[in-house]
């Protein structure tokens, strides 16, 4: 145990930090893009307060289009775009762009379904009280959807952790890469086991945290 720790401790620690980095940064941008898109989807859909068939259909198609591409393909497919945007297509920096492109539409969908759960009558009550639409979106719809939003984001983070496993292919490291390059290619079975165990614990903790938070927000 001591020997394993001194030999692999640093590598595993570094890989964990890389995974955390990728997940945090990519998630931040994915929410920054996905949440407004989710709001836009809810508002422009049929019978929404800003009903607009063209915007809704356009957005809907775009999201479906991106979500059809598996991450491993998307990663290479948009290489030129990644390079154009951040100047490099390798390392953590290079993988953030495809991760965001991959996750933002997913977040948008999750937010859409979370926001649709909010009772239309409540929105109407606030309209009747003379509250402006932007305030209703933030203080009523998003506020009231918080439990569902938290659960959706938990789901997105877990999916994102899965996607970062592919990041090793462009040299961004992370736990997935560790399991593949050391555990698989170099037959270090103990590293494989440790990584898998770490990922299991990580996902379990995240899901429990998400569930707990959602229940606390739900107030029922």
């Amino acid at each position: 145990m001591q020997a394993f720790y001194s030999r692999w401790g640093n590598v595993i620690f570094k890989a964990t930090i890389e995974t955390f980095q990728m997940v945090t940064i990519a998630m931040f941008f994915a929410v920054l893009i996905g949440l407004p898109l989710g709001v836009l989807l809810t508002l422009t859909r049929k019978n929404g307060s800003l009903e607009n068939r063209w915007v809704y259909q356009g957005l809907n198609t775009l999201i479906n289009l991106i979500r059809s591409i598996p991450f491993i393909i998307l990663l290479f497919y948009i290489l030129p775009f990644t390079k154009l945007l951040v100047g490099t297509s390798i390392g953590v920096k290079g993988v953030i762009v495809p991760l965001v492109v991959h996750t933002a539409p997913f977040v948008a969908r999750l937010m859409e379904s979370a926001l649709l759960e909010v009772d239309r009558g409540v929105v109407e009550a606030y309209e009747a009280m003379g509250v402006s639409t932007p305030k209703i979106i933030w203080y009523v719809i998003i506020r009231e959807a918080r439990p569902a939003i938290v659960l959706g984001l938990t789901m997105a983070i877990i999916a994102l952790i899965g996607a970062t496993a592919m990041a090793g292919l462009v040299g961004a490291g992370g736990l997935g890469n560790l399991a593949y390059s050391y555990g698989h290619l170099r037959y270090e079975v103990s590293v494989m086991h440790t990584t898998v165990l770490l990922l299991i614990v990580l996902v379990q903790c995240l899901q429990s945290l998400g569930n707990h938070l959602a229940t606390r927000l739900r107030k029922e």
Partner: protein
């Protein structure tokens, strides 16, 4: 005039058909009164009340509140006006994730009131609806009646001149309905708030309304003061709503008693007359025995309205005298079935 609708029409367009929800409805609600609109589901009353604060845009016609035509306002001006028009709903429409206090405070904050003012109003209006001790409760912990009280406090906290009630008691049990109606009455009296309500329940109308309109197929088919409409309904729908407050068995009894050859009369009376023992007098003064087939007295907002179906047993002369006497006391007499021997008494 406070609320006035001019020739308001609303047509809903769907892929397959268009539905005329409102057909040139004109309506006038005076300051300080409680105005009730009754109709069956699908009559258009829900659309009508939502058009008053422009939650629904009319296809044609216009809506005046205190002389301001809402259909001509900018979105910002409309929001201003809406703050003086409170609204409560059948489904309460409270935030599930907020406490009672937050449910009242949040809209006030969003319309730009100061913290101090907000906490004062929360206290004041929670006291008005009698829920001061539930300040920190969440809606899920409250009963239906309590939720509606929170919604009423939320509406009142904006200190509106008008309160719109969209089937506010329809989801509540009879006892809770009574207490909410009492609350609405006291709000109307205490704060002078004009109330426009829609309902499909006749007892809501008779308990608290000053004036009433009956709706059917997107039009108002009858309108008047509560007493007028109750004592002299013209439209079949109105009659149906009023008859729903009286026992049904009376008419079936008529056929049974037909062969007796004695007249069957419907006596309807309003207000103070209900306090006098008229039929007892009749049997004392004339040689007739009144046989009561059915009877009911319905409490109205400021009076009582009663209806008796009576068969007068006696000879023709005495019966005619008795009828004349009854009429002289202010009771309205209508002959439902004349006896063979009595071509007409009236």
């Amino acid at each position: 005039m406070l609320i006035q609708l001019h020739q308001v029409s609303k047509t809903f367009q769907s892929n397959i058909q268009q539905v005329e929800a409102l057909r040139e409805v004109s309506l006038k609600v005076n300051p300080g009164e409680i105005y009730g609109i009754i109709g069956h589901s699908g009559a258009g009353k829900s659309t009508l009340i939502r058009i008053v604060n422009l939650l629904e845009k009319p296809t044609s016609g216009h809506i005046d509140i205190n002389g301001v035509d809402l259909t001509r306002l900018s979105p910002k001006e409309l929001r201003e006006i809406r703050r003086s028009v409170g609204m409560i709903f059948q489904g309460f429409n409270l935030l599930k994730t907020a406490t009672v206090e937050e449910n009242i405070a949040l809209p006030l904050r969003l319309t730009g009131l100061s913290h101090q003012e907000i906490s004062q109003r929360v206290e004041k209006y929670l006291a008005v609806v009698g829920l001061t001790d539930k300040k920190q409760a969440y809606p899920a912990q409250l009963s239906g009646g309590q939720k509606q009280r929170v919604a009423i406090a939320r509406a009142l906290s904006h200190e509106p001149k008008i309160l719109l009630s969209d089937e506010a008691t329809s989801a509540l049990d009879p006892e809770t309905t009574e207490s909410i109606l009492d609350l609405l009455l006291s709000i109307n009296r205490e704060f002078g708030i004009t109330i426009l309500l829609i309902t499909h329940e006749m007892n809501v109308i008779q308990r608290i309304c000053d004036r009433v309109a009956v709706m059917e197929h997107g039009s108002i088919v009858e309108e008047g003061s509560l007493l007028e409409v109750f004592s002299d309904p013209r439209h079949p729908t109105t009659k149906k709503f009023i008859n729903s407050q009286f026992p049904q068995s009376a008419l079936s009894l008529l056929s049974v008693d037909e062969q007796d050859g004695q007249p069957v009369l419907e006596l309807s009376f309003v207000g103070a007359v209900t306090d006098q023992p008229i039929l007892a007098e009749v049997s004392k003064q004339f040689q007739v025995s009144p046989n009561i087939l059915s009877g009911n007295i319905v409490p109205l907002k400021n009076a009582h309205y009663g209806k008796l179906i009576v068969q007068l047993l006696g000879d023709r002369e005495e019966t005619a005298k008795a009828v004349a006497y009854i009429k002289s006391t202010g009771v309205k007499v209508e002959e439902l079935k004349g006896g063979e021997a009595h071509a007409s008494l009236l």
